[in-house]
Symmetry: C2
Subunit: 211 residues, 2 copies
DNA sequence: CAGATACAGACCGGCGGTCTGTATTATTCT
DNA sequence: AGAATAATACAGACCGCCGGTCTGTATCTG
């Protein structure tokens, strides 16, 4: 085939295959030849759709990010919930997302490939915090379910702590450590009038650590 | 010269040159040829002292870490200070270290080279928190200058927040943002009975952001 | 004088990336 | 409508360079 009628399918194939390989072996250890072999495409095909190997990585990250933010946006725009309730729901879905299917398999990937860690920090501070957590915090302040005079900073700290500290994916932890961190996190948020982690989520995180 | 009487000097030369290059161009973009050109050594010499390019990076990181922890250990073991005072002193020296001479030049380096970011997170959670912040926190609890029932978690959160969130080095920030974050951070620690950032440090951070 | 040490530098496989070629589709012109 | 032309979607040979190895050699130590 020389001119495909549906090049988007080829792009999707490349992205799917590449992300799988990145997860398995890490970005550095995945060569273009690996992607070529797995997709049975040619080097020309891949470089026709992507400018570089790193462009593939960024596209993979973007696609993941878009899915996550779409889910978060849905919660943010839901009606009939207080700010605190929305925030709780966001955390629930974020944890659920990360555990089933999605980010779970990234364990070795994230560790092996710090480039992603940096991208994630960037997306936390430039996307998730200002566009998703912050408006919900503001709602919570308005409806009285959240108390703080610095929502901007609180939104950043909440996400930094949950993603980089609390989330057990990033490092090996014992169940006790996970529980202790969750308790501390709840103590922290209680200061602002709300609590995000209930027993269900904590159990899910603990359970994940066992495996 | 074929057999040097002081090979340690060669190692130091490699480490000094490499760290400088890593800072300037980032690890990935620094080639072994760059190091060879700058040191005027041969490839054989470098691979005689280091097993790989990454081994050089790790050695550079280790050397920096050793210097930092030595300074922190000195504060930790000082006599005649309360726990809260020691913690404050640790933060002061950490900021001072990072601004004058040391980590300042790492700005593009850390951003360009996420491998270091991962190493830093590891060292925060495995070294700095348990061995330096935690004992000081315990002292503070004993002498009444710090109040918390979860010193382990607090030590981790303090360092995560200060290093990855508060520290302006990692991302561009306006003076207002820096001040707001510092205020939030002080509000946070006040909850545990102490305050870490005084006007001097905040001014130093703001000043740094201008340049 | 016999290792062991501290280099020097040619050499190599493989990597990311480029470049040219070609088949197929879309567009334009008459 | 249909031929000419351009643009697209690949294929795959090719290239420069990079990290790493390997052999050779001069100097020091025991």
């Amino acid at each position: 085939m020389a001119r495909n009628k549906h090049p988007e399918q080829t792009v999707k194939l490349i992205l799917d295959t590449a992300s799988q390989l990145f997860f398995q072996k890490g970005y550095d250890r995945t060569t273009l030849q690996d992607i070529i072999d797995a997709t049975k495409l040619s080097k020309g095909a891949i470089y026709h759709h992507f400018a570089s190997k790193e462009a593939i990585l960024i596209a993979v990250a973007d696609r993941m990010g878009e899915y996550n933010t779409a889910v978060l946006a849905e919660v943010r725009d839901r009606k009939g919930l207080t700010g605190a309730e929305k925030l709780r729901e966001m955390f629930r879905t974020a944890v659920r997302l990360s555990f089933q299917g999605g980010i779970v398999n990234m364990l070795p990937f994230l560790i092996e490939n710090p480039k992603f860690l940096a991208l994630q920090m960037e997306s936390i501070l430039n996307e998730a915090a200002p566009h998703y957590a912050l408006p919900v915090l503001r709602e919570g302040i308005a409806d009285g379910s959240i108390r703080t005079d610095r929502p901007e900073e609180l939104s950043e700290v909440l996400l930094i702590l949950s993603d980089l500290w609390l989330h057990p994916i990033l490092r090996p932890s014992t169940p006790e450590q996970v529980r202790a961190r969750c308790t501390f996190f709840n103590q922290f948020t209680r200061q602002y009038g709300f609590e995000l982690l209930d027993e269900d989520i904590i159990d899910a995180m603990v359970e994940f650590c066992r495996s």
